[in-house]
């Protein structure tokens, strides 16, 4: 479990089903694999060689995204904040496509956004992939996302 503190309930905008800016924070879930029905997350006690050691890099990315998530949740409670795994093929890529098209992107741009969204870490805002693969500091990401979402929605 993360050592960070909880940040309170999810945004009211989401709860009311009102249309709001959508921010998808993409990161891999540690110790979890696609098609792992027989060998997925074990949830073992912490040992020297346990999952925490094997998946330390994934964990670092989860913590990094967590920091951004908490800052955005605090700064803009009405944002629709989603955390998704890039291996979640069934949901992630159609969602990016839909958001991109709904916000006026061309089919090519939507495809590009989908392609860039599938990275170990990525930040997608209203169907536009702002960051892919590597992230600057959390504050830089948060500032850029907030600047982007300050604009009115397309439709």
């Amino acid at each position: 479990m993360s050592s960070t503190s909880a940040v309170g309930p999810a945004s009211r905008g989401q709860a009311r089903g009102r249309r709001s800016h959508q921010v998808i924070l993409v990161r891999e879930q540690d110790a979890q694999h696609s098609g792992s029905g027989c060998c997925g997350r074990l949830g073992e006690r912490h040992t020297a060689l346990g999952a925490a050691a094997d998946f330390s890099q994934s964990r670092a990315r989860m913590e990094q995204i967590g920091e951004i998530y908490r800052a955005l949740a605090q700064a803009a409670p009405d944002l629709e904040l989603v955390i998704a795994d890039p291996r979640n093929l069934i949901w992630l890529y159609p969602a990016v496509w839909r958001a991109a098209r709904a916000n006026g992107s061309t089919a090519f741009s939507a495809c590009r956004a989908m392609a860039r969204a599938g990275a170990p870490v990525a930040v997608v805002v209203d169907g536009k992939t702002l960051y892919s693969g590597r992230l600057p500091s959390a504050q830089v990401v948060v500032d850029r996302v907030l600047a982007w979402t300050a604009r009115p929605l397309n439709a």
Partner: protein, 568 residues
Amino acid sequence: MPAFLLIVITLVAFYFAYKFYSRYLAEKVYRLDPNFVTPAHAMRDGVDFVPTHKHVLLGHHFTSVAGAAPIVGPAIAVYWGWLPALTWVVLGTIFAAGVHDFGSIVVSARNRGQNIGTLSGKVVSARASTLFLLIIFFLLTLVNAVFGVVMAILFESNPGAVIPALIVIPIAVFIGQWAYRMGRSIVIPSILGLLLLYVAIPVGQAYPIYVDGLAEAVGLSVRTTWIILIFAYTWIASRLPVWVLLQPRDYINGQQLIVALVVIFLGVLIGWDTISAPAVNEVAPNSPHWFPYLFITVACGAISGFHSLVASGTTSKQLGNETEARFVGYGGALGEGALALAAILACTAGLGAAGDWNTAYADFGAASGGALGHFVNGTGHFLSNLGIPATLGATFAAVVVITFAGTTMDTGVRLQRYILEEISELAGIKSLVGRVNLLTTLAVLIPLGLALVPGGDSAGGKGFAFGRLWTLFGTTNQLTAGLALSIIGVWLLARNRNPLAALIPLVFLLFMTTWALLLNLGDFFAKGDWLLLVMDAAIFVLAAWLAVEAFTAFNRERRNPSAAAEES
């Protein structure tokens, strides 16, 4: 009967099950409360605890739980006819897997997102967490043994699949470097990797790889040689950092799963094939009887204990609203059932005329040893309905299963390493703690021994015993499910709710598992399979232990519904 009709019947059954039975579970059994503050909200941190929309969560849950195991079990079980296999898949999914997966999410969510191992100690008894550890140890041992054999069978029977299966490794390593070291997007390289893999299929067909020469040189059978090579590879793969091979290969696996499901169902729809297998097969003398063996042969696909680990380890922490556990948990179980249906169709409608089927499933040895081959050939036939040559289609299916099995073994050995270290810590064997090479070697050697000893594929006239190894795997998987169902049942009883929805599948599974284990004991003794005999006896003890723990916990809660299982 048209195969399409089986799809319709199954999907209609699943639809009504979701609409009515899962609603009954949600309202009357689990009593989901839309106002309950889930751990995702209460402990929301954006890392582990994240309120997540049900569609996102179902996507993640399903891609995590679906794998190769729902293919193998049904591919063997159609030996008793398509009707018993399909009936168990449908009823098991509806009344056992749905209750189990759904309930695991609910109980975990009501307990701060704690995993099933922790909950076993908290809800059932302190001893139950040790029991959990031991069941998982046996389960992982058998998982690694059976998947090692699965890969060896496929390499031996489909030498054309060796090159495409091997080429996945450099592709994955490249993707790993590209994505994790260079910080780039993974989508385009993984799609290109998948295409390259498909290009490698005809190349593999043109240049099949045989290890007969090597096998002859070292004096082993071809299958044994493959098994040893596969375990050697697994040792190396499990010692690499996860980002080098395991994680990037995951992306290719995910895409393959979607492609395989689409082509199978599309092939059935377009080809309008009929079921060539009998509804109920008159099996060869001395075959295992379907009752109880059917219920442990099809484990994943009807009910899988490992789903409780995903449900309680990840999903419950991301549940945005408690009422959505129904959609994610029960819906995910139905998705797994659909995967098992695809395997049944491939092995009953895809194998051609009834005569071909009777030859393929002549006896239990042929059915179990050749199960993967039957699935692969059946899928090849469905692909031929789409205009793809059947031999290429068969190699495609073989590669899908091999890559899944490879990932499962890599992960399985890692998990076994954790478990062995944990057991050594608990047992006070300090010399093993932190010894990664030693623990990995142990995690590889134990299942390797199991995969080889009952092998005897050409010796002693015993025939290849994959079926018996697989049924042992099934028993441990059902015991894991039984433990999760005990937790759910005790939790329900502690709240004065009717526990029958969890209790009936629990008693059913325990009964079938212990009965099959007892029958196996006699069989292994008669055939002199001493290693399997010891393994079977140990798992029987675990089953008896689980029954005692469950009975004691139920009795305790019935007399004194208590704080023992109170949510924190």
